[in-house]
Symmetry: C2
Subunit: 340 residues, 2 copies
Amino acid sequence: MKKEIITLKKLAQILELSTSTVSRALNDHQDISEATRKRVKNLAQSMHYVPNIFARGFRKHKTNIIGVIVPNITHYFTTTIVRGILEEAKLKGYRVIISESNNDTAKQTEMLNTMIQFGVDGILVSLTKMTKDIDTVLQTLNKCPLILFDKVSNKIPCTQVTINDEEAAYSAIEHLINIGKKRIAIIKEREFSYTSEKRYAGYLKALKDHNIEIDEKIIISVDDISTQQGKRMTNHLLSIKKKPDAIFAITDSSAVGVIQTLKKFNIKIPEEIAVVGFSNSRFSTIIEPNLTTVDQPGETIGKNAVKYLIEEIENTTDTISNKMIEIKGTLIIRDSTFKV
Amino acid sequence: MKKEIITLKKLAQILELSTSTVSRALNDHQDISEATRKRVKNLAQSMHYVPNIFARGFRKHKTNIIGVIVPNITHYFTTTIVRGILEEAKLKGYRVIISESNNDTAKQTEMLNTMIQFGVDGILVSLTKMTKDIDTVLQTLNKCPLILFDKVSNKIPCTQVTINDEEAAYSAIEHLINIGKKRIAIIKEREFSYTSEKRYAGYLKALKDHNIEIDEKIIISVDDISTQQGKRMTNHLLSIKKKPDAIFAITDSSAVGVIQTLKKFNIKIPEEIAVVGFSNSRFSTIIEPNLTTVDQPGETIGKNAVKYLIEEIENTTDTISNKMIEIKGTLIIRDSTFKV
DNA sequence: TATTTTTATGCAAACGTTTGCGGGAACGTT
DNA sequence: AACGTTCCCGCAAACGTTTGCATAAAAATA
């Protein structure tokens, strides 16, 4: 079952060199002659030598592992980000360990701790909903390079990678206006959600820029933005006197709820009420009518996140950078808003 | 930026004990007195001591990391398994590193190699589609505990965790028969897919048991079971003389394609043609009519997979076990097959 | 009291790698 | 000939933990 394991020492023995020379040769250290470097590398290759990661990590205090924490690994958008992370990390020679916080702040801090204990070189985190525990994040911030992605927070001074939520939302609303909608409702999350707030800002700005009245009655906030809530809130929106002629659901899954209940009441989409979501998730082309939504290039986000993280890891100066990276999302127009 | 790091030695110094005693106390070694054990543990706790994983792994040749390889991390069902894996692993004190093979056999073997080089304690793999490279898997099999889940293969002698595909498919078909269907088509993958073959077997058995003729013309095999293919194949099925009155799509995403094209031709579902899928993915309640499908408890699969893996890791004897674990999936009946 | 046994602890080596330092050989410079 | 450089390479220590072995103290036995 066990294969004999070859070490630097063994190589050195065979080559009649010291382990240090062998080590240096393998690491392309400058004061090793070309001749011996070749000799060493050849033998190493032919004997399938692989350095013992743990000895090395132990010695160099570097693990080449980055930790990732996401609220819910089950979300399609999250998985596309993860895919990007995995790909880029692999490219750069890093391994990735993933944890799921389940939107539980306590779990999140625990994971943060476990990870730095474990000795990851850096951490990528997408925050839980109610991240009032900024403290733990701040703490880990000066123990270990950390950058935020997707669910970020402006209260944490570190680099963050997101969609250009505000602009994307702006263009979505502008599109609704362009097709003639004048009373546009929004279903968003409460204040705790940075992403939601950004999209909300885009909503407000678009309305203002087009001189459309802002009516609090059709600005709906929910704690948990789900299909269920989408349904409930549309029911509510349909019960008020001046019904909206469009609904911007901050999220595809809630948009699904919106569409489903509109259909239940035989309301024509988009003629009577248009709907737009956000994410371009799988179901946007399955629900009928197909959902207008903004596509978020998850892989790009993931790749950028690790790119900046590794930059920070390998940057020896102790300054924590805090760039704000915005990846462009693009509006995809489908039947739920088509101009009739 | 760097916090002082506390080691066994420091603890020992403070406590005026030797490092060995401290180490043993922390590890609940038997010949440490209760008193000092307490003393040590208390201090360790209050000083937030955490063992250096790399020193330990280096010393003990144990990493407490398990590797996971999946073909596509983007599939909802896969993510539910991953969730189960993460949860169970955390519970048992293991960390998880994940890689995505993208259904690329070469990548898969590369990942297998990287992982054992890296020193994971065990590997969990869901095979790529065309796994003709059984060899690499077999090789890693005697370097490192490995168990298969979801996409498995009977050609690899190790323990495997899957859905009870055959029985589940059987019950799905039986359900179709019960609602009066007599000409049931199946859209499946080609022979390379173990899972698909199992479901196909269930299909055949159900038909046989109910004395229904088996017609090759409505047994469709495709290379890549997707929504696209679902559409194409329904088009094909609708073109033959004796049309089916039900379609069993081996997979939800292909079932979506089936339903979409049936609707395009205004064929009544389920009256004219009933549809059943497999997976209970998100879209089964979004597509209309809602899809009858079999629910696969992904988390349970994930948990079981790590359970058996850890069992094997911690089992000192060198025998490779090869249990076949089947987790029960359950048929969920929705509108796409409702008896009228 | 003398002895063995038990209990609790310390010593020191080992794991495989990297790296600061030191030094011999070869070469070039005065 | 004496000196300074440059080029290669080896020695040995260090990283933090675990663990076999030794041993002192305490307890039990004779």
